[in-house]
């Protein structure tokens, strides 16, 4: 078993993504804590141009794994190509960002290798070189410490923002790049992916809003959304929502904030009856001020709140609207 930390650098449409650099930052930290070396790996067809970009990050090398069958992402292609590399190199850890792509193939890869995969981690504790990974459970109500029990290689993915792109150490000189051909034949790829597309041009751009009032399940009924709209109007802001509200058709999908919706960073984010599951938090935790009103004191939204009110939003929002109007008039 080597002490190698293999970092999966995700590319989309032949571009290195921010999650790729976050994974590099995670891999560099694990290597520093465990005395290992970092190797970055990128998959695709004719992606050597991406390798030189990755080579700027401090690592002991960049590995380009190429095959025509890897031109488009497929779980079959990626799991097969990575399984080949991991079997031959026997790294200690394989580090991923917890993206939609990684969720799609990493469990398959782990199963094919017969190894463990701890997914969607926030970070880890280092107990004398033994790493204990921290992840959220029960929709963020609790955290869990999780450790690997079987043999390495160990696969681990980190949630967006757990490690920062700007903390990636740059090397003094470019890292060496090597290219290997992946053992993936076209007929081993069973799914046929189409182009990425957006449903319609997003009518509402919440990313530029200075104030957002967002509603979650706690709003209880579609007719109550009007109350949130009045608060948004009083504050001169936009209306947003958590996923269940849009799933239920109470507000259109283009109002959705979170991992599958828009990522916003307003001056003020008001969360009304939103518990703040991680899928929602990743879309709004960059907000400068967060006011959370929720009847459940344990709701994870309070972890990212500047101002918190534990109580019934229907008792607090009407007087709040009134006070805001008074303040603006005065």
């Amino acid at each position: 078993m080597s002490n190698e930390i293999l970092v999966f650098a995700e590319q989309q449409s032949r571009k290195i993504t921010r999650p790729a650099w976050e994974a590099v930052a995670a891999g560099q930290k694990i290597a520093a804590d465990t005395g290992g070396s970092v190797t970055l790996i990128v998959l695709g067809a004719a992606v050597s141009v991406l390798a030189s970009e990755l080579a700027a990050g401090e690592s002991s090398g960049v590995l380009v794994v190429e095959a025509p069958a890897l031109a488009e992402y497929t779980p079959d292609g990626y799991a097969r190509a990575l399984a080949g590399v991991i079997r031959s190199r026997q790294p200690r850890y394989v580090v991923f960002s917890h993206t939609y792509q990684v969720r799609d193939f990493a469990p398959k890869l782990a199963a094919a290798l017969g190894v463990g995969f701890i997914s969607d981690c926030l970070g880890y504790h280092n107990e004398s070189g033994r790493l204990i990974f921290v992840r959220q459970v029960f929709q963020g109500k609790f955290n869990a410490d999780v450790e690997f029990t079987g043999e390495a290689p160990y696969l681990v993915s980190f949630q967006a923002g757990s490690f920062r792109e700007d903390s990636v150490r740059r090397g003094a000189a470019a890292a060496s790049v090597s290219t290997v051909a992946a053992e993936v034949a076209p007929d081993q790829v069973r799914s046929k992916p189409g182009e990425r597309f957006r449903e319609a041009k997003q009518a509402v751009d919440l990313t530029q809003a200075e104030v957002i009032v967002a509603v979650g399940r706690g709003i209880k009924a579609p007719e109550n959304i009007d109350l949130a709209r009045k608060l948004a109007d009083a504050l001169g802001g936009e209306l947003g929502a958590s996923r269940p509200i849009c799933d239920g058709g109470w507000l259109p999908m283009d109002r959705q904030i979170g991992s599958s919706g828009q990522t916003v960073a307003p001056k003020l984010y008001v969360a009304l009856g939103i518990s703040g599951a991680i899928q929602h938090q990743v879309g709004m935790k960059g907000s400068r001020n967060v006011l959370a009103i929720n009847k459940d004191r344990e709701a994870p939204i309070f972890e990212v709140a500047t101002y918190g009110v534990v109580g019934d939003l229907f008792e607090i929002v009407p007087p709040l609207i009134e006070e805001i109007r008074k303040s603006k008039a005065g």
Partner: protein
């Protein structure tokens, strides 16, 4: 078309969760359980496919005796029969262990399609479905928002980040993990509830499946579950609605400088 729906029970959304004395999981007594939300959407999708294509919907659930409640709900909504994977050796399995048991139970079923929710609301690893696909050597796709049957193949709409989607074509048999919001789940009718009582429900234990406890050895272990540290600087406001409103406006005006 034979469709298997894998679903699990999780603590009801409004349950007040407490940790167990060892601090390694929640206290499962004194709370109510419900079907994991994304699994409800997976079941609905399976029922709609059966209605348009004909065939059979089989529910597969791993869990203790209480899981029968979830199974009965699925049968009442229109599933035809159920497999209940129940054995003391199945308690606390990781995703790999659960998938291993399910793979063994479904090997002989040979479904055309397996659907399950994209993740569970408890541990939330989002892995069991994908591991199951690998163990059964099936092509798969995840986070699905639409399914269209095209003869011996399917075309699915997969959700990607930031409002993007992608169509993917897969040959059958295949496995899909379903995203919440793909459809409007139905409620069980009284007639359905009555009919469910006579639908076949097969219980399968470790021995029935020809497995040994060692086959399910975990790849990962929870050492501790705990309340996350709160952000120290959250300022809480109490009092009457009017008091709170006045204090908040003061903060928004003088501290956050929004007003």
């Amino acid at each position: 078309m034979k469709i298997v729906v894998c679903l699990k029970q999780v603590p009801a959304r409004d349950s007040l969760l407490r940790l167990n004395p060892a601090g390694t999981w929640i206290q499962e007594t004194d709370i109510s359980f419900e079907v994991n939300e994304p699994d409800i959407y997976a079941l609905e999708e399976a029922l709609r496919l059966k209605e348009s294509q004909g065939g059979e919907v089989v529910v597969c659930s791993l869990g203790p005796a209480r899981a029968q409640q979830a199974i009965k709900e699925a049968l009442a909504k229109g599933a035809d029969r159920a497999l209940h994977l129940d054995d003391p050796a199945f308690a606390g399995l990781d995703s790999f262990g659960v998938a291993r048991v399910m793979a063994r139970a479904l090997e002989t079923e040979k479904p055309d399609l397996i659907v399950t929710g994209l993740q569970s609301d408890d541990f939330g690893a989002a892995q069991t479905g994908v591991i199951l696909a690998e163990l059964l050597d099936l092509p798969h796709s995840t986070i699905i928002m639409a399914i269209e049957v095209q003869g011996g193949a399917i075309k699915v709409k997969r959700e990607l980040e930031a409002g993007f989607f992608q169509f993917i074509e897969l040959p059958l048999p295949a496995l899909l993990t379903i995203q919440s919001g793909i459809n409007k789940p139905r409620y069980a009718t009284l007639k359905g509830i009555m009919a469910a009582k006579n639908k076949p429900l097969k219980k399968l234990s470790l021995a029935d499946l020809g497995l040994l406890a060692g086959d399910l050895a975990p790849k990962q272990r929870i050492t501790r579950v705990y309340v996350p540290e709160k952000r120290a600087n959250t300022e809480f406001f109490e009092g009457s609605g009017k008091d709170i409103a006045a204090k908040l406006v003061d903060k928004l005006k003088n501290e956050a400088r929004i007003l």
